[in-house]
Amino acid sequence: MLARLAHRLFAGFAVVLGVVTLTFLLLHAAPGDPIELMLGQTATAEQVAAQRRALGLDRPLPAQFASWLGRLGRGDWGTSIARGRPVRAVLGDAWPATVRLVALSLLLSYLIGLFIGAIQAARSRSRTDTILSVTTVTLFALPGFWLALMLVLVFTYWARWLPAFGAAGLDADYLSAGAWMVDRLRHLALPLTTLTLIGIGGAARFARGAMLDTLSQPFITTARAKGLVPRQVIARHALRNALTPIVTLLGLSLPALFSGAVFIEAVFAWPGVGRILVEAVQARDYPVVMAATTVSAVLVVAGNLLADILAAWLDPRVRSASA
Protein backbone atom coordinates (compact mmCIF):
# COMPACT_ATOMS: atom_id res chain seq x y z
CA MET A 1 0.00 0.00 0.00
CA LEU A 2 2.78 2.42 0.94
CA ALA A 3 4.75 1.60 -2.20
CA ARG A 4 1.64 2.15 -4.27
CA LEU A 5 1.00 5.43 -2.51
CA ALA A 6 4.55 6.57 -3.20
CA HIS A 7 4.18 5.57 -6.84
CA ARG A 8 0.90 7.50 -7.10
CA LEU A 9 2.42 10.55 -5.42
CA PHE A 10 5.30 10.51 -7.91
CA ALA A 11 2.91 10.11 -10.85
CA GLY A 12 0.76 12.95 -9.52
CA PHE A 13 3.80 15.18 -9.22
CA ALA A 14 4.76 14.34 -12.80
CA VAL A 15 1.27 15.24 -14.02
CA VAL A 16 1.35 18.61 -12.27
CA LEU A 17 4.81 19.34 -13.69
CA GLY A 18 3.60 18.32 -17.15
CA VAL A 19 0.51 20.55 -16.95
CA VAL A 20 2.64 23.49 -15.83
CA THR A 21 5.16 22.99 -18.65
CA LEU A 22 2.42 22.63 -21.25
CA THR A 23 0.69 25.78 -20.01
CA PHE A 24 3.93 27.71 -20.11
CA LEU A 25 4.66 26.61 -23.68
CA LEU A 26 1.10 27.33 -24.85
CA LEU A 27 1.11 30.76 -23.25
CA HIS A 28 4.33 31.80 -24.88
CA ALA A 29 3.62 30.15 -28.24
CA ALA A 30 0.35 32.05 -28.62
CA PRO A 31 0.14 35.44 -30.25
CA GLY A 32 -0.59 38.42 -27.99
CA ASP A 33 1.59 40.09 -25.43
CA PRO A 34 0.72 41.24 -21.91
CA ILE A 35 2.89 44.34 -22.29
CA GLU A 36 1.08 45.53 -25.42
CA LEU A 37 -2.27 44.92 -23.71
CA MET A 38 -1.01 46.77 -20.63
CA LEU A 39 0.60 49.81 -22.23
CA GLY A 40 -1.90 50.19 -25.06
CA GLN A 41 -1.52 51.37 -28.65
CA THR A 42 0.29 54.62 -27.87
CA ALA A 43 3.35 53.04 -26.25
CA THR A 44 6.63 53.46 -28.13
CA ALA A 45 8.83 50.51 -29.00
CA GLU A 46 11.36 51.64 -26.37
CA GLN A 47 8.74 51.73 -23.62
CA VAL A 48 7.54 48.23 -24.53
CA ALA A 49 11.12 46.94 -24.59
CA ALA A 50 11.91 48.55 -21.23
CA GLN A 51 8.82 47.07 -19.62
CA ARG A 52 9.59 43.65 -21.08
CA ARG A 53 13.09 43.82 -19.63
CA ALA A 54 11.72 44.91 -16.26
CA LEU A 55 9.46 41.86 -16.11
CA GLY A 56 12.13 39.51 -17.44
CA LEU A 57 10.08 38.68 -20.54
CA ASP A 58 13.02 39.37 -22.90
CA ARG A 59 15.02 36.40 -21.64
CA PRO A 60 15.06 33.04 -23.42
CA LEU A 61 12.07 30.82 -22.62
CA PRO A 62 13.96 28.02 -20.81
CA ALA A 63 15.59 30.61 -18.54
CA GLN A 64 12.20 32.21 -17.79
CA PHE A 65 10.69 28.82 -17.03
CA ALA A 66 13.60 27.79 -14.81
CA SER A 67 13.46 30.98 -12.81
CA TRP A 68 9.66 30.65 -12.46
CA LEU A 69 10.10 27.11 -11.10
CA GLY A 70 12.92 28.27 -8.84
CA ARG A 71 10.84 31.05 -7.34
CA LEU A 72 7.89 28.67 -6.96
CA GLY A 73 10.15 26.31 -5.02
CA ARG A 74 10.82 29.14 -2.60
CA GLY A 75 7.11 29.84 -2.29
CA ASP A 76 7.12 32.95 -4.51
CA TRP A 77 4.32 32.95 -7.11
CA GLY A 78 5.39 36.26 -8.68
CA THR A 79 3.34 39.39 -9.26
CA SER A 80 0.25 39.72 -11.43
CA ILE A 81 1.08 41.76 -14.55
CA ALA A 82 -2.48 43.06 -15.01
CA ARG A 83 -3.38 43.69 -11.37
CA GLY A 84 0.00 44.61 -9.91
CA ARG A 85 -0.75 42.56 -6.79
CA PRO A 86 1.19 39.48 -5.67
CA VAL A 87 -0.26 36.36 -7.29
CA ARG A 88 -0.37 34.70 -3.88
CA ALA A 89 -2.81 37.37 -2.67
CA VAL A 90 -4.94 37.20 -5.83
CA LEU A 91 -5.31 33.42 -5.59
CA GLY A 92 -5.43 33.39 -1.80
CA ASP A 93 -8.64 35.41 -2.02
CA ALA A 94 -10.05 33.18 -4.74
CA TRP A 95 -9.40 29.56 -3.93
CA PRO A 96 -11.52 29.21 -0.75
CA ALA A 97 -14.55 30.35 -2.77
CA THR A 98 -13.92 27.69 -5.42
CA VAL A 99 -13.25 24.91 -2.94
CA ARG A 100 -16.37 25.84 -0.98
CA LEU A 101 -18.52 25.71 -4.10
CA VAL A 102 -16.98 22.56 -5.61
CA ALA A 103 -16.77 20.56 -2.38
CA LEU A 104 -20.33 21.34 -1.32
CA SER A 105 -21.79 20.53 -4.72
CA LEU A 106 -19.73 17.34 -4.94
CA LEU A 107 -21.05 16.21 -1.57
CA LEU A 108 -24.67 17.12 -2.33
CA SER A 109 -24.77 15.73 -5.86
CA TYR A 110 -23.23 12.40 -4.81
CA LEU A 111 -25.49 11.97 -1.80
CA ILE A 112 -28.60 12.74 -3.83
CA GLY A 113 -27.34 10.85 -6.89
CA LEU A 114 -26.52 7.76 -4.83
CA PHE A 115 -29.96 7.85 -3.26
CA ILE A 116 -31.70 8.15 -6.64
CA GLY A 117 -29.50 5.44 -8.16
CA ALA A 118 -30.24 3.06 -5.28
CA ILE A 119 -33.99 3.58 -5.62
CA GLN A 120 -33.78 2.97 -9.36
CA ALA A 121 -31.74 -0.20 -8.94
CA ALA A 122 -34.11 -1.52 -6.27
CA ARG A 123 -37.08 -0.91 -8.54
CA SER A 124 -35.33 -1.72 -11.80
CA ARG A 125 -37.56 -1.57 -14.93
CA SER A 126 -40.47 -0.07 -13.02
CA ARG A 127 -42.28 3.16 -13.84
CA THR A 128 -40.31 4.92 -11.07
CA ASP A 129 -37.05 3.75 -12.68
CA THR A 130 -38.11 5.10 -16.08
CA ILE A 131 -39.21 8.48 -14.75
CA LEU A 132 -36.03 8.89 -12.71
CA SER A 133 -33.92 7.80 -15.71
CA VAL A 134 -35.48 10.45 -17.92
CA THR A 135 -34.88 13.03 -15.19
CA THR A 136 -31.24 12.12 -14.63
CA VAL A 137 -30.44 11.97 -18.37
CA THR A 138 -31.92 15.44 -18.76
CA LEU A 139 -29.92 16.79 -15.80
CA PHE A 140 -26.82 15.13 -17.27
CA ALA A 141 -27.44 16.90 -20.60
CA LEU A 142 -28.00 20.40 -19.21
CA PRO A 143 -25.20 22.84 -20.11
CA GLY A 144 -24.22 24.51 -16.84
CA PHE A 145 -24.06 28.07 -18.10
CA TRP A 146 -27.52 27.79 -19.66
CA LEU A 147 -29.10 26.26 -16.56
CA ALA A 148 -27.45 29.09 -14.62
CA LEU A 149 -29.04 31.70 -16.89
CA MET A 150 -32.47 30.10 -16.59
CA LEU A 151 -32.21 29.94 -12.78
CA VAL A 152 -31.21 33.61 -12.72
CA LEU A 153 -34.18 34.41 -14.94
CA VAL A 154 -36.63 32.59 -12.68
CA PHE A 155 -35.26 33.25 -9.20
CA THR A 156 -33.69 36.67 -9.65
CA TYR A 157 -35.66 38.49 -12.33
CA TRP A 158 -39.09 36.91 -12.02
CA ALA A 159 -39.41 35.81 -8.39
CA ARG A 160 -36.89 38.38 -7.04
CA TRP A 161 -35.83 35.92 -4.34
CA LEU A 162 -32.12 35.38 -4.78
CA PRO A 163 -29.13 37.48 -5.84
CA ALA A 164 -27.46 36.48 -9.10
CA PHE A 165 -23.94 37.85 -8.78
CA GLY A 166 -20.96 37.54 -6.48
CA ALA A 167 -20.43 35.78 -3.18
CA ALA A 168 -21.62 38.54 -0.83
CA GLY A 169 -23.75 41.67 -0.89
CA LEU A 170 -22.24 45.17 -1.11
CA ASP A 171 -23.20 45.79 2.52
CA ALA A 172 -21.65 42.53 3.75
CA ASP A 173 -19.11 44.29 5.97
CA TYR A 174 -21.79 46.10 7.96
CA LEU A 175 -24.05 43.14 8.70
CA SER A 176 -24.49 41.35 12.02
CA ALA A 177 -23.19 37.78 12.21
CA GLY A 178 -26.58 36.19 11.56
CA ALA A 179 -27.46 38.48 8.66
CA TRP A 180 -23.96 37.99 7.22
CA MET A 181 -24.49 34.24 7.21
CA VAL A 182 -27.90 34.57 5.53
CA ASP A 183 -26.40 36.92 2.93
CA ARG A 184 -23.62 34.42 2.19
CA LEU A 185 -26.06 31.52 1.87
CA ARG A 186 -28.37 33.49 -0.43
CA HIS A 187 -25.45 34.25 -2.72
CA LEU A 188 -24.33 30.62 -2.64
CA ALA A 189 -27.80 29.26 -3.47
CA LEU A 190 -27.91 29.66 -7.25
CA PRO A 191 -24.32 28.66 -8.16
CA LEU A 192 -24.52 25.68 -5.80
CA THR A 193 -27.91 24.57 -7.16
CA THR A 194 -26.63 24.79 -10.73
CA LEU A 195 -23.50 22.73 -10.10
CA THR A 196 -25.34 20.21 -7.93
CA LEU A 197 -28.21 19.64 -10.37
CA ILE A 198 -25.75 18.93 -13.16
CA GLY A 199 -23.68 16.65 -10.93
CA ILE A 200 -26.69 14.60 -9.84
CA GLY A 201 -27.29 13.41 -13.41
CA GLY A 202 -23.91 11.75 -13.82
CA ALA A 203 -23.72 10.44 -10.26
CA ALA A 204 -27.18 8.85 -10.33
CA ARG A 205 -26.62 7.25 -13.73
CA PHE A 206 -23.39 5.69 -12.55
CA ALA A 207 -24.79 4.70 -9.15
CA ARG A 208 -27.68 2.89 -10.81
CA GLY A 209 -25.28 0.88 -12.98
CA ALA A 210 -22.97 0.02 -10.08
CA MET A 211 -25.90 -1.01 -7.89
CA LEU A 212 -27.42 -3.23 -10.58
CA ASP A 213 -24.01 -4.83 -11.11
CA THR A 214 -23.74 -5.59 -7.40
CA LEU A 215 -27.33 -6.82 -7.14
CA SER A 216 -26.63 -9.52 -9.73
CA GLN A 217 -23.85 -11.04 -7.58
CA PRO A 218 -24.26 -14.35 -5.72
CA PHE A 219 -23.84 -12.88 -2.23
CA ILE A 220 -26.96 -10.78 -2.76
CA THR A 221 -28.90 -13.92 -3.61
CA THR A 222 -27.53 -15.42 -0.37
CA ALA A 223 -28.60 -12.37 1.61
CA ARG A 224 -32.07 -12.62 0.13
CA ALA A 225 -32.21 -16.37 0.68
CA LYS A 226 -31.45 -16.05 4.36
CA GLY A 227 -34.53 -13.91 4.66
CA LEU A 228 -33.30 -10.32 4.89
CA VAL A 229 -35.89 -7.73 3.98
CA PRO A 230 -35.18 -5.91 0.66
CA ARG A 231 -34.34 -2.65 2.42
CA GLN A 232 -31.59 -4.37 4.41
CA VAL A 233 -30.25 -6.11 1.31
CA ILE A 234 -29.98 -2.79 -0.50
CA ALA A 235 -28.68 -0.67 2.37
CA ARG A 236 -26.35 -3.12 4.12
CA HIS A 237 -25.09 -5.39 1.38
CA ALA A 238 -25.48 -3.82 -2.05
CA LEU A 239 -24.82 -0.15 -1.34
CA ARG A 240 -21.62 -0.77 0.57
CA ASN A 241 -20.18 -2.89 -2.24
CA ALA A 242 -21.32 -0.54 -4.96
CA LEU A 243 -19.54 2.33 -3.21
CA THR A 244 -16.05 1.33 -4.40
CA PRO A 245 -16.53 2.10 -8.12
CA ILE A 246 -18.58 5.17 -7.20
CA VAL A 247 -15.82 6.62 -5.04
CA THR A 248 -13.28 6.00 -7.80
CA LEU A 249 -15.56 7.82 -10.24
CA LEU A 250 -15.84 10.65 -7.74
CA GLY A 251 -12.09 11.15 -8.04
CA LEU A 252 -12.12 10.85 -11.81
CA SER A 253 -14.97 13.34 -12.14
CA LEU A 254 -13.05 16.08 -10.32
CA PRO A 255 -11.54 17.56 -13.49
CA ALA A 256 -15.01 17.72 -15.06
CA LEU A 257 -16.46 19.26 -11.93
CA PHE A 258 -13.71 21.86 -11.81
CA SER A 259 -14.31 22.54 -15.51
CA GLY A 260 -17.99 23.01 -14.81
CA ALA A 261 -17.14 25.38 -11.99
CA VAL A 262 -15.15 27.57 -14.38
CA PHE A 263 -18.29 28.23 -16.45
CA ILE A 264 -20.55 28.63 -13.44
CA GLU A 265 -18.16 31.05 -11.73
CA ALA A 266 -18.03 33.16 -14.86
CA VAL A 267 -21.83 33.33 -15.14
CA PHE A 268 -22.40 34.19 -11.48
CA ALA A 269 -19.30 36.40 -11.14
CA TRP A 270 -18.31 34.04 -8.31
CA PRO A 271 -14.92 35.24 -7.02
CA GLY A 272 -13.14 31.91 -7.48
CA VAL A 273 -10.13 30.49 -9.31
CA GLY A 274 -12.17 29.80 -12.44
CA ARG A 275 -13.12 33.42 -12.96
CA ILE A 276 -9.59 34.60 -12.18
CA LEU A 277 -8.29 32.12 -14.75
CA VAL A 278 -10.68 33.28 -17.50
CA GLU A 279 -9.78 36.93 -16.90
CA ALA A 280 -6.06 36.21 -16.67
CA VAL A 281 -6.02 34.22 -19.91
CA GLN A 282 -7.70 37.10 -21.72
CA ALA A 283 -5.25 39.63 -20.27
CA ARG A 284 -2.23 37.36 -21.00
CA ASP A 285 -1.41 37.69 -17.30
CA TYR A 286 1.29 34.97 -17.41
CA PRO A 287 2.04 34.59 -13.67
CA VAL A 288 -1.64 34.36 -12.72
CA VAL A 289 -2.47 31.85 -15.47
CA MET A 290 0.51 29.71 -14.48
CA ALA A 291 -0.43 29.80 -10.80
CA ALA A 292 -4.14 29.15 -11.38
CA THR A 293 -3.38 26.19 -13.65
CA THR A 294 -0.91 24.82 -11.11
CA VAL A 295 -3.44 25.11 -8.31
CA SER A 296 -6.20 23.46 -10.34
CA ALA A 297 -3.87 20.63 -11.41
CA VAL A 298 -2.80 20.05 -7.81
CA LEU A 299 -6.43 20.05 -6.64
CA VAL A 300 -7.40 17.52 -9.31
CA VAL A 301 -4.43 15.21 -8.66
CA ALA A 302 -4.95 15.40 -4.90
CA GLY A 303 -8.65 14.63 -5.36
CA ASN A 304 -7.85 11.53 -7.40
CA LEU A 305 -5.35 10.36 -4.81
CA LEU A 306 -7.87 10.92 -2.03
CA ALA A 307 -10.50 8.91 -3.92
CA ASP A 308 -8.01 6.04 -4.31
CA ILE A 309 -7.24 6.02 -0.60
CA LEU A 310 -10.95 6.21 0.22
CA ALA A 311 -11.68 3.28 -2.10
CA ALA A 312 -8.99 1.20 -0.38
CA TRP A 313 -10.43 2.09 3.01
CA LEU A 314 -13.94 1.11 1.93
CA ASP A 315 -12.98 -2.15 0.27
CA PRO A 316 -10.36 -4.46 1.80
CA ARG A 317 -10.05 -6.23 -1.56
CA VAL A 318 -8.54 -3.14 -3.19
CA ARG A 319 -6.05 -2.94 -0.31
CA SER A 320 -4.86 -6.53 -0.59
CA ALA A 321 -4.78 -6.46 -4.41
CA SER A 322 -2.34 -3.57 -4.39
CA ALA A 323 -0.23 -4.66 -1.44
Binding site: A11, A14, V15, G18, V19, L22, T23, L26, L27, A30, P31, G32, S124, V137, T138, F140, A141, L142, P143, G144, F145, W146, L149, M150, V152, L153, Y157, G209, L212, D213, L215, S216, P255, A256, F258, S259, G260, V262, F263, A266, L277, V278, V281, Q282, V289, T293, S296, A297, V300, V301, N304
Partner: protein, 281 residues
Protein backbone atom coordinates in the same frame (compact mmCIF):
# COMPACT_ATOMS: atom_id res chain seq x y z
CA UNK B 1 -31.26 -3.56 -35.56
CA UNK B 2 -34.83 -4.59 -34.76
CA UNK B 3 -33.87 -4.89 -31.09
CA UNK B 4 -32.44 -1.41 -31.29
CA UNK B 5 -35.61 0.02 -32.79
CA UNK B 6 -37.79 -1.73 -30.27
CA UNK B 7 -35.82 -0.03 -27.48
CA UNK B 8 -37.75 3.09 -26.49
CA UNK B 9 -34.58 5.06 -25.73
CA UNK B 10 -33.03 4.32 -29.12
CA UNK B 11 -36.25 5.10 -30.98
CA UNK B 12 -36.60 8.45 -29.21
CA UNK B 13 -32.94 9.36 -29.65
CA UNK B 14 -32.87 8.40 -33.31
CA UNK B 15 -36.09 10.29 -34.01
CA UNK B 16 -34.90 13.51 -32.38
CA UNK B 17 -31.55 13.37 -34.17
CA UNK B 18 -33.27 12.58 -37.48
CA UNK B 19 -35.65 15.53 -37.16
CA UNK B 20 -32.78 17.88 -36.23
CA UNK B 21 -30.62 16.59 -39.08
CA UNK B 22 -33.44 16.90 -41.61
CA UNK B 23 -34.22 20.44 -40.43
CA UNK B 24 -30.53 21.35 -40.66
CA UNK B 25 -30.19 19.82 -44.13
CA UNK B 26 -33.33 21.43 -45.53
CA UNK B 27 -32.94 24.64 -43.55
CA UNK B 28 -34.02 26.96 -46.40
CA UNK B 29 -37.30 25.02 -46.76
CA UNK B 30 -38.39 25.02 -43.11
CA UNK B 31 -37.34 28.60 -42.28
CA UNK B 32 -37.37 32.02 -43.91
CA UNK B 33 -33.88 31.16 -45.16
CA UNK B 34 -32.13 34.28 -43.87
CA UNK B 35 -30.53 33.66 -40.45
CA UNK B 36 -28.66 36.97 -40.52
CA UNK B 37 -31.31 39.13 -42.15
CA UNK B 38 -31.97 42.40 -40.27
CA UNK B 39 -34.90 44.34 -41.63
CA UNK B 40 -36.59 47.18 -39.80
CA UNK B 41 -34.89 46.54 -36.46
CA UNK B 42 -37.04 48.85 -34.33
CA UNK B 43 -40.29 47.47 -35.73
CA UNK B 44 -39.37 43.78 -35.65
CA UNK B 45 -37.18 43.30 -32.59
CA UNK B 46 -38.25 41.36 -29.47
CA UNK B 47 -41.39 39.92 -31.04
CA UNK B 48 -42.56 37.24 -28.54
CA UNK B 49 -42.94 33.64 -29.69
CA UNK B 50 -46.06 32.59 -31.60
CA UNK B 51 -46.90 36.09 -32.78
CA UNK B 52 -46.48 38.24 -35.85
CA UNK B 53 -44.44 41.42 -36.26
CA UNK B 54 -45.89 44.67 -37.53
CA UNK B 55 -45.25 43.58 -41.12
CA UNK B 56 -47.43 40.51 -40.62
CA UNK B 57 -44.58 38.01 -40.64
CA UNK B 58 -45.15 35.12 -38.21
CA UNK B 59 -42.35 34.15 -35.76
CA UNK B 60 -42.84 30.77 -34.06
CA UNK B 61 -40.01 31.41 -31.58
CA UNK B 62 -40.04 35.20 -31.67
CA UNK B 63 -37.22 37.52 -32.75
CA UNK B 64 -34.00 38.72 -31.14
CA UNK B 65 -32.81 42.27 -30.58
CA UNK B 66 -31.89 42.72 -34.24
CA UNK B 67 -35.31 41.50 -35.36
CA UNK B 68 -33.86 38.23 -36.61
CA UNK B 69 -36.15 35.20 -36.54
CA UNK B 70 -35.06 32.92 -33.66
CA UNK B 71 -36.42 29.74 -35.30
CA UNK B 72 -34.43 30.42 -38.47
CA UNK B 73 -31.25 31.05 -36.49
CA UNK B 74 -31.91 27.95 -34.41
CA UNK B 75 -32.11 25.74 -37.51
CA UNK B 76 -29.04 27.30 -39.15
CA UNK B 77 -27.30 27.09 -35.77
CA UNK B 78 -28.04 23.35 -35.75
CA UNK B 79 -25.92 23.04 -38.91
CA UNK B 80 -22.97 24.67 -37.14
CA UNK B 81 -23.37 23.08 -33.70
CA UNK B 82 -24.06 19.56 -34.97
CA UNK B 83 -21.34 19.90 -37.60
CA UNK B 84 -18.75 20.99 -35.06
CA UNK B 85 -19.79 18.20 -32.67
CA UNK B 86 -19.68 15.44 -35.28
CA UNK B 87 -16.38 16.48 -36.90
CA UNK B 88 -14.68 17.03 -33.52
CA UNK B 89 -15.74 13.57 -32.34
CA UNK B 90 -14.46 12.04 -35.58
CA UNK B 91 -11.06 13.67 -34.98
CA UNK B 92 -11.12 12.30 -31.41
CA UNK B 93 -12.02 8.82 -32.61
CA UNK B 94 -9.23 8.71 -35.21
CA UNK B 95 -6.65 9.88 -32.67
CA UNK B 96 -7.99 7.71 -29.86
CA UNK B 97 -8.17 4.53 -31.95
CA UNK B 98 -4.64 5.05 -33.26
CA UNK B 99 -3.12 5.69 -29.85
CA UNK B 100 -5.13 2.96 -28.14
CA UNK B 101 -4.43 0.34 -30.81
CA UNK B 102 -0.70 0.99 -30.96
CA UNK B 103 -0.37 1.08 -27.17
CA UNK B 104 -2.41 -2.08 -26.76
CA UNK B 105 -0.73 -4.13 -29.49
CA UNK B 106 2.93 -3.26 -29.18
CA UNK B 107 4.36 -3.52 -25.69
CA UNK B 108 7.47 -1.69 -24.61
CA UNK B 109 8.58 1.92 -24.43
CA UNK B 110 6.19 3.18 -27.14
CA UNK B 111 3.19 1.74 -25.32
CA UNK B 112 4.41 3.12 -22.00
CA UNK B 113 4.84 6.60 -23.49
CA UNK B 114 1.41 6.55 -25.12
CA UNK B 115 -0.34 5.32 -21.96
CA UNK B 116 1.48 7.95 -19.92
CA UNK B 117 0.43 10.63 -22.39
CA UNK B 118 -3.20 9.46 -22.26
CA UNK B 119 -3.33 9.47 -18.47
CA UNK B 120 -1.66 12.86 -18.44
CA UNK B 121 -4.15 14.48 -20.81
CA UNK B 122 -6.99 12.75 -18.95
CA UNK B 123 -5.86 14.39 -15.71
CA UNK B 124 -5.89 17.94 -17.10
CA UNK B 125 -9.16 19.76 -16.50
CA UNK B 126 -10.42 19.78 -20.12
CA UNK B 127 -12.02 23.19 -19.92
CA UNK B 128 -8.80 24.77 -18.66
CA UNK B 129 -7.00 23.44 -21.72
CA UNK B 130 -9.89 24.48 -23.98
CA UNK B 131 -9.94 27.98 -22.52
CA UNK B 132 -6.18 28.36 -22.85
CA UNK B 133 -6.02 27.32 -26.49
CA UNK B 134 -9.25 28.99 -27.57
CA UNK B 135 -8.47 32.25 -25.78
CA UNK B 136 -4.88 32.48 -26.91
CA UNK B 137 -5.49 32.08 -30.64
CA UNK B 138 -7.95 33.91 -32.85
CA UNK B 139 -11.29 32.20 -32.22
CA UNK B 140 -12.87 30.47 -35.22
CA UNK B 141 -15.06 27.48 -36.02
CA UNK B 142 -12.05 25.48 -37.27
CA UNK B 143 -10.12 26.16 -34.06
CA UNK B 144 -13.05 24.93 -31.95
CA UNK B 145 -13.16 21.67 -33.92
CA UNK B 146 -9.40 21.15 -33.58
CA UNK B 147 -9.37 21.98 -29.87
CA UNK B 148 -12.34 19.71 -29.06
CA UNK B 149 -10.84 16.92 -31.15
CA UNK B 150 -7.42 17.24 -29.54
CA UNK B 151 -8.78 17.15 -25.99
CA UNK B 152 -11.44 14.46 -26.46
CA UNK B 153 -9.50 11.40 -27.60
CA UNK B 154 -8.22 10.15 -24.24
CA UNK B 155 -11.23 8.15 -23.06
CA UNK B 156 -11.49 6.49 -26.47
CA UNK B 157 -7.79 5.61 -26.37
CA UNK B 158 -8.31 4.02 -22.95
CA UNK B 159 -11.24 1.94 -24.22
CA UNK B 160 -9.48 0.77 -27.38
CA UNK B 161 -6.31 0.00 -25.44
CA UNK B 162 -8.19 -2.28 -23.06
CA UNK B 163 -10.08 -4.04 -25.86
CA UNK B 164 -6.99 -4.56 -28.03
CA UNK B 165 -5.00 -6.00 -25.14
CA UNK B 166 -7.79 -8.42 -24.30
CA UNK B 167 -8.25 -9.45 -27.94
CA UNK B 168 -4.53 -9.84 -28.69
CA UNK B 169 -4.33 -13.03 -26.59
CA UNK B 170 -7.45 -14.64 -28.04
CA UNK B 171 -7.04 -17.85 -30.09
CA UNK B 172 -8.25 -16.37 -33.40
CA UNK B 173 -5.49 -13.76 -33.24
CA UNK B 174 -2.94 -16.46 -32.56
CA UNK B 175 -4.39 -18.34 -35.54
CA UNK B 176 -4.01 -15.34 -37.83
CA UNK B 177 -0.40 -14.95 -36.75
CA UNK B 178 0.25 -18.66 -37.16
CA UNK B 179 -0.70 -18.53 -40.84
CA UNK B 180 1.89 -15.79 -41.30
CA UNK B 181 -0.19 -12.58 -41.42
CA UNK B 182 2.00 -9.51 -40.84
CA UNK B 183 1.46 -7.81 -37.47
CA UNK B 184 -0.07 -4.66 -38.94
CA UNK B 185 -2.56 -6.77 -40.89
CA UNK B 186 -3.45 -8.76 -37.78
CA UNK B 187 -4.13 -5.53 -35.95
CA UNK B 188 -6.09 -3.86 -38.74
CA UNK B 189 -8.11 -6.83 -40.02
CA UNK B 190 -8.56 -9.09 -37.03
CA UNK B 191 -8.32 -7.09 -33.85
CA UNK B 192 -9.60 -3.57 -34.57
CA UNK B 193 -12.97 -4.54 -36.09
CA UNK B 194 -13.70 -6.45 -32.89
CA UNK B 195 -12.52 -3.60 -30.68
CA UNK B 196 -14.67 -0.87 -32.18
CA UNK B 197 -17.97 -1.63 -30.44
CA UNK B 198 -17.32 0.52 -27.36
CA UNK B 199 -15.97 3.25 -29.66
CA UNK B 200 -19.36 3.60 -31.36
CA UNK B 201 -20.99 4.03 -27.98
CA UNK B 202 -18.34 6.48 -26.80
CA UNK B 203 -18.75 8.38 -30.06
CA UNK B 204 -22.50 8.78 -29.60
CA UNK B 205 -21.96 10.06 -26.04
CA UNK B 206 -19.02 12.22 -27.17
CA UNK B 207 -21.07 14.11 -29.76
CA UNK B 208 -23.41 15.37 -27.05
CA UNK B 209 -20.45 16.36 -24.92
CA UNK B 210 -18.71 18.15 -27.80
CA UNK B 211 -21.85 20.12 -28.68
CA UNK B 212 -22.16 21.25 -25.05
CA UNK B 213 -18.50 22.29 -24.90
CA UNK B 214 -18.76 24.16 -28.20
CA UNK B 215 -21.70 26.03 -26.74
CA UNK B 216 -19.69 26.81 -23.61
CA UNK B 217 -16.77 28.22 -25.59
CA UNK B 218 -19.08 30.21 -27.86
CA UNK B 219 -20.84 31.51 -24.76
CA UNK B 220 -17.52 33.07 -23.68
CA UNK B 221 -17.02 34.45 -27.18
CA UNK B 222 -14.19 31.99 -27.77
CA UNK B 223 -15.99 29.68 -30.18
CA UNK B 224 -18.05 30.20 -33.31
CA UNK B 225 -18.12 33.91 -34.07
CA UNK B 226 -21.31 35.90 -34.80
CA UNK B 227 -23.10 36.58 -37.08
CA UNK B 228 -22.75 32.86 -37.89
CA UNK B 229 -25.36 31.34 -35.58
CA UNK B 230 -24.37 28.51 -33.24
CA UNK B 231 -26.45 27.44 -30.26
CA UNK B 232 -23.74 28.65 -27.92
CA UNK B 233 -23.41 32.16 -29.28
CA UNK B 234 -27.21 32.40 -29.53
CA UNK B 235 -27.43 31.70 -25.79
CA UNK B 236 -24.67 34.26 -25.24
CA UNK B 237 -26.58 36.92 -27.19
CA UNK B 238 -29.73 36.02 -25.26
CA UNK B 239 -27.89 36.59 -21.98
CA UNK B 240 -27.86 40.35 -22.53
CA UNK B 241 -31.61 40.52 -23.18
CA UNK B 242 -32.66 37.90 -20.63
CA UNK B 243 -35.23 40.17 -19.01
CA UNK B 244 -36.76 41.64 -22.19
CA UNK B 245 -36.69 38.53 -24.34
CA UNK B 246 -36.01 35.31 -22.39
CA UNK B 247 -36.92 33.19 -25.42
CA UNK B 248 -33.73 34.21 -27.25
CA UNK B 249 -31.59 32.32 -24.69
CA UNK B 250 -34.17 29.65 -23.80
CA UNK B 251 -34.82 28.26 -27.31
CA UNK B 252 -31.24 27.23 -28.25
CA UNK B 253 -30.74 25.79 -24.75
CA UNK B 254 -33.80 23.58 -25.06
CA UNK B 255 -32.64 22.43 -28.51
CA UNK B 256 -29.22 21.66 -27.09
CA UNK B 257 -30.61 19.65 -24.17
CA UNK B 258 -32.87 17.69 -26.52
CA UNK B 259 -29.98 16.76 -28.82
CA UNK B 260 -27.66 15.81 -25.96
CA UNK B 261 -30.38 13.71 -24.32
CA UNK B 262 -30.98 12.02 -27.68
CA UNK B 263 -27.26 11.25 -28.12
CA UNK B 264 -27.01 9.89 -24.56
CA UNK B 265 -30.08 7.66 -24.87
CA UNK B 266 -28.98 6.37 -28.25
CA UNK B 267 -25.51 5.65 -26.84
CA UNK B 268 -26.97 3.79 -23.84
CA UNK B 269 -29.24 1.70 -26.05
CA UNK B 270 -26.42 0.96 -28.51
CA UNK B 271 -24.23 -0.28 -25.66
CA UNK B 272 -26.93 -2.63 -24.43
CA UNK B 273 -27.58 -4.05 -27.89
CA UNK B 274 -23.98 -4.24 -29.17
CA UNK B 275 -22.45 -5.57 -26.00
CA UNK B 276 -24.76 -8.02 -24.23
CA UNK B 277 -22.04 -8.82 -21.69
CA UNK B 278 -22.37 -5.33 -20.26
CA UNK B 279 -26.14 -5.40 -20.28
CA UNK B 280 -27.74 -4.61 -16.98
CA UNK B 281 -30.50 -6.85 -15.69
Amino acid sequence: MTRLLRDGRAAFGAMVLLVVLLCALFAPLVTNGQPAAQRDIVATRFVPPLSSDTRGEFHALGTDRFGRDVWTRLVYGARVSMGVGVIAVMVSIVLGVMVGAVAGFWRGPIAMTLIGLTDFVLAIPRVVLLLLIAALWQPSTALVIIVLGLTGWTSIARLVHGEVRALAVRPFVEGARAVGAPRVRVLARHILPNALTPVIVAGALGIGNAITLEAGLSYFGLGVQPPTPSWGNMIASGRDVLVNAPWVAAAPGVALVLVVVACTLLGDALRDVLDPSQQLP
